[in-house]
Amino acid sequence: MIEKPVIQLIDVRRYYLVGEYLVKALDGVSLSIPRGSFTAIMGPSGSGKSTMMNLIGCLDTPTSGYITIGGEMTNGMNEEELAYLRNEKIGFVFQQFNLLGKVNALENVMTPMTYAGIPHKERRERAEEMLEKVGLKDRMKHLPSELSGGQKQRVAIARALVNDPDILLADEPTGALDSKTGSEVMGLFQELHEEGRTIVFVTHDRKLGSQCPNQVLIKDGRIVEGDVFGES
């Protein structure tokens, strides 16, 4: 039996109306991402990769076409249903970390579990466990402002993983880090991949993207074969 892909896009279009102009951010994209894969979605800025990330992350719904995330079709879902899906199936890692600034690392990691309705004691235990796993056992009580960039991104990864999502969705996760810290974070993703996590890695950097086993190239809202960066 072949397992269903964890992410499936069928002829997905996402159009925006900007003033009088129709912007075709995604224009007929079909894509299957199998469970346990490590996929880079690459493309220059304006190519539509952010739109694709938003769609996969259930932050947005398509104008037409079908998207299934972990077997659930997002078409026609209301905000509340999308929120549940994000909480349950998606773990976000952002370029700018996006930690909650007023609460410490531990509480940041606990937040998705709060929305999942997990009791406080269990939240705490799981968050501590997850922070330990990303190597921040001794920084749990620190505010994000007291952490380095690499540490912040580790907190964000711990937070993304704490609800055991189907997909880890990383948007330029090394973009705000120096190259040494960046490669450390990249190493962490590799480890997670080896543990069997499904990772979608969105980047404009082809060198980073080429480290991923699977690669999808986007240009002008379509998936293209070959070199999208205009190099030979």
Binding site: A83, N98, T114
Partner: protein, 389 residues
């Protein structure tokens, strides 16, 4: 979830103390003034009632208004036979007359009263009241009001002297007593009155057709309002309701209480307008907060917060803020009313109702004025919110 929201609310409230304080000022002043006004209103009401209770509350007056012949001197004796709880009934008639002592002349109200008229309140300054015998013998004796005695006897030797009372003809009356100064008292000011025995009045000054007023003293242990009602129903069997008027000091007390009550409510309602203004202050700060925390809202949504979750987070924050303001306002109001009451020399009574009401009102204000900003936060698009700088 609610506990988390509560924690977040306190967290953000104490992050920017100055801003929190300024945005709460409206609600603090609003609640403070409502509590102050209600407390002071309660205190004034009670101090008025207390001062009225000193004398006269145990009296009911029946004032004939028509020329109904039933209201004679003898009618006074029928009250006790028909109504329970009456201690005594005194009567009076009055007319205008001129009083003279040597060169001093004075126009005054002359009252013909039975001797028990003085039982109720007036205090004698010099001499004594006239007696039951004086009345029976139609003696020409008089008790003068304080000012009247001063005017007619500047030398102060009124008691024992004689004064002339003119009405058609002049007659000599012996002064037996002078009443104490009653100006500033809540009961009738007798300073310019002269009192003579009822029968003397009838016989020697002016023939009595109808009694001017029956003053009925209530027995101890009876409720003045109830007895007044019984008196009214008794009167309705003997005369048309157009022919008399019944007034009891208790009714006056009740009326004063209700007037003070209305006034307090009215002032409190005006003060409540500032609560509304305070609510707008809360809304304003919550709108600012939502804009400032757009990115946080985006993050929370990405992590799985539903619109409902976000809305309750901000609603709890607004409510906590306004209840906090309400509590400060109550403390402020209690302190101010304490200061005012002690400066004015009133006994301070706390209006528990006002305090409970203020708390309820300020939380209602928080929910009402927090709703719009909270709904705005809940409706934010997660993609735009995440991209917000």
């Amino acid at each position: 979830m609610f506990l988390e929201n509560l924690k977040l609310a306190f967290n953000s409230m104490f992050t920017n103390k100055m801003r929190t304080f300024l945005s709460l000022l409206g609600i603090v002043i609003g609640v403070g003034s409502v509590v102050t006004i209600m407390n002071l209103g309660e205190s004034v009401k009670r101090s008025i009632t207390d001062s009225m209770n000193i004398g006269g509350v145990d009296e009911v007056s029946v004032i004939p208004t028509g020329a109904n012949a039933v209201f004679s001197e003898e009618f006074a004796y029928t009250f006790q036979d028909n109504v329970l709880g009456i201690e005594s009934v005194s009567i009076y008639v009055n007319t205008n007359a001129t009083l003279r002592n040597g060169q001093e002349t004075k126009n005054a109200q002359v009252y013909g009263v039975t001797s028990n008229y003085f039982d109720s309140s007036e205090d004698i300054l010099y001499g004594d009241f006239f007696t039951r015998e004086n009345n029976l013998h139609r003696d020409q004796v008089v008790v003068l009001g304080y000012d009247l005695a001063q005017d007619l006897f500047p030398g102060g030797d009124a008691v024992g002297s004689y004064v002339s009372i003119f009405r058609n003809q002049s007659k000599q009356y012996r002064v037996v007593g002078v009443l104490d100064d009653t100006s500033g008292s809540i009961s009738t000011n007798t300073n310019n009155y002269a009192f003579i025995p009822f029968n003397t009045f009838d016989q020697r000054l002016k023939k009595v057709n109808a009694v001017s007023q029956y003053t009925i003293k209530i027995k101890e242990g009876y409720n003045a309002t109830d007895v007044a009602a019984d008196i009214k129903s008794y009167l309705s069997t003997v005369a048309s309701s157009n022919d008399y008027y019944v007034s009891s000091a208790q009714e006056l007390v009740n009326m004063t209480e209700s007037v003070t009550g209305y006034l307090t409510t009215f002032l409190a309602a005006i003060a409540a307008i500032s609560l509304l203004v305070g609510g707008i202050g809360i809304m304003n700060i919550m709108l600012v907060t939502v804009v400032e925390r757009t990115r946080e809202i985006g993050i929370r949504k990405a992590l799985g917060a539903t619109p409902k979750t976000i809305r309750s987070q901000f609603l709890v924050e607004a409510t906590v803020l306004s209840i906090f303001g309400g509590v400060i306002g109550i403390i402020f109001g209690v302190v101010v009313s304490y200061v005012v009451a002690s400066a004015a020399g009133w006994t301070l009574y706390f209006s528990i109702g006002a305090i409970v009401l203020s708390l309820a009102f300020s939380s209602a204000v928080g929910i009402f004025f927090g709703w719009y900003p909270a709904a705005k936060a809940a409706a934010l698009d997660p993609i735009e919110a995440l991209a917000y700088e």
